[in-house]
């Protein structure tokens, strides 16, 4: 198992979990979202290529009202 941070909350994943698999596991489904890992933007096209690592910090954002 590895420990990561999901939106600043601790989360556990199996070793060698792909980002696309983690998003399914966390039940984001088809929600409109964007992802950054360790402060770096991750394009949607790479979700299936990226293997999450111990200590990764994931930011998963959605649209909200803004001024």
């Amino acid at each position: 198992m590895i420990n990561v941070s999901l939106n600043n909350e601790p989360a556990e994943l199996s070793d060698k979990t792909l980002l696309s698999e983690a998003l399914k596991q966390w039940e984001y489904g088809d929600q409109k979202l964007a992802v950054a890992i360790n402060g770096e933007f991750v394009p949607r096209s790479r979700y299936g290529d990226i293997t999450l690592q111990e200590g990764d910090h994931l930011d998963i954002v959605k649209p909200v009202g803004g001024g």
Partner: protein, 263 residues
């Protein structure tokens, strides 16, 4: 008057009112305010959200249904790195290269950090973004933002959410006079439609605000009031304001004044 469109980055808009989508008491109130405002462009943001939280779904549906152009922001970012990353996330999320660039320099008044702003604008422009920077009213900062490729400036009227109107008219007039061909939108700090009309009378090209509408007792009615004020101010700018005078000057003819006798 012939059609008086707002042109930003080569796109034209009938409305000169850009409206924020935060702080409304419900998504339906926001939807009604957007309709009443007659706006063509709305601002919105990105925030962390956990999987089970679907609270933003209605918001997003109303935004899409509005048909407005989306102008995502980088609100809350305090560094160039944060702002650039959030802009990249926004570009993918909303499928637009347009970004309202905010780099906060001070927590107390949410004043833009001019140095970080220019650096972030430079980086984002090179990455193909159309940057609309939320900036102070400083002429040199405006010039530096243009130097790095911004085609629009969005100087503040006063700090975000204060409703204090145009705090530094000298700086704003200087900006307008020295950069006459640059589209400039007064962004933030306006609390009353009269303040928006004043900015438009000064020759600014548009108004972006959020709190003054969202926090009104009747947001749709206030949105309409701002829209009317912005239209009125624009017409007054085109019509040309009279020069101010120190002394009174009668408007009714003095020739033929009754009851007047030469003493």
């Amino acid at each position: 008057m012939s059609r008086d469109s707002l042109t930003l980055y080569g796109e034209t808009f009938d409305s000169r009112f850009l409206l924020g989508t935060a702080l409304y008491t419900s998504p339906t109130i926001m939807r009604d305010a957007l309709q009443a405002s007659r706006c063509d462009i709305v601002t919105l943001g990105l925030r962390r959200q956990n999987p089970g939280d679907r609270s933003g779904d209605a918001f997003w549906q109303y935004i899409r249904a509005s048909g407005c152009k989306l102008l995502p922001n980088t609100a809350g970012c305090k560094s160039v790195k944060e702002a650039v990353t959030l802009a990249e996330m926004s570009r993918e999320m909303f499928d637009t290269p347009w970004i309202k660039l905010e780099v906060v320099g001070d927590d107390y008044n949410l004043q833009p950090d001019p140095f970080g702003l220019v650096e972030a604008a430079d980086e984002l422009t090179k990455k193909g973004f159309k940057v609309l920077p939320y900036c102070t009213d400083d002429l040199i900062v405006g010039q530096r933002l243009l130097d790095v490729g911004c085609e629009v400036l969005m100087p503040w009227g006063s700090p975000i959410g204060t409703g204090q109107g145009l705090l530094n008219r000298y700086n704003l007039r200087t900006l307008r006079e020295r950069l006459p061909n640059v589209p400039m939108i007064i962004d933030a700090g306006l609390g009353a439609p009269s303040q928006a009309a004043e900015a438009m009378e000064m020759g600014f090209d548009g108004i972006l605000l959020n709190t003054a509408v969202a926090k009104a007792h009747e947001p749709p009615l206030m949105a309409e009031a701002f829209a009317d004020a912005i239209d009125a101010g624009r017409k007054a700018y085109h019509a040309g304001l009279m020069e101010r005078r120190q002394t009174a000057s009668p408007s009714t003819p003095t020739i033929g004044q009754p009851f007047w006798h030469q003493s």
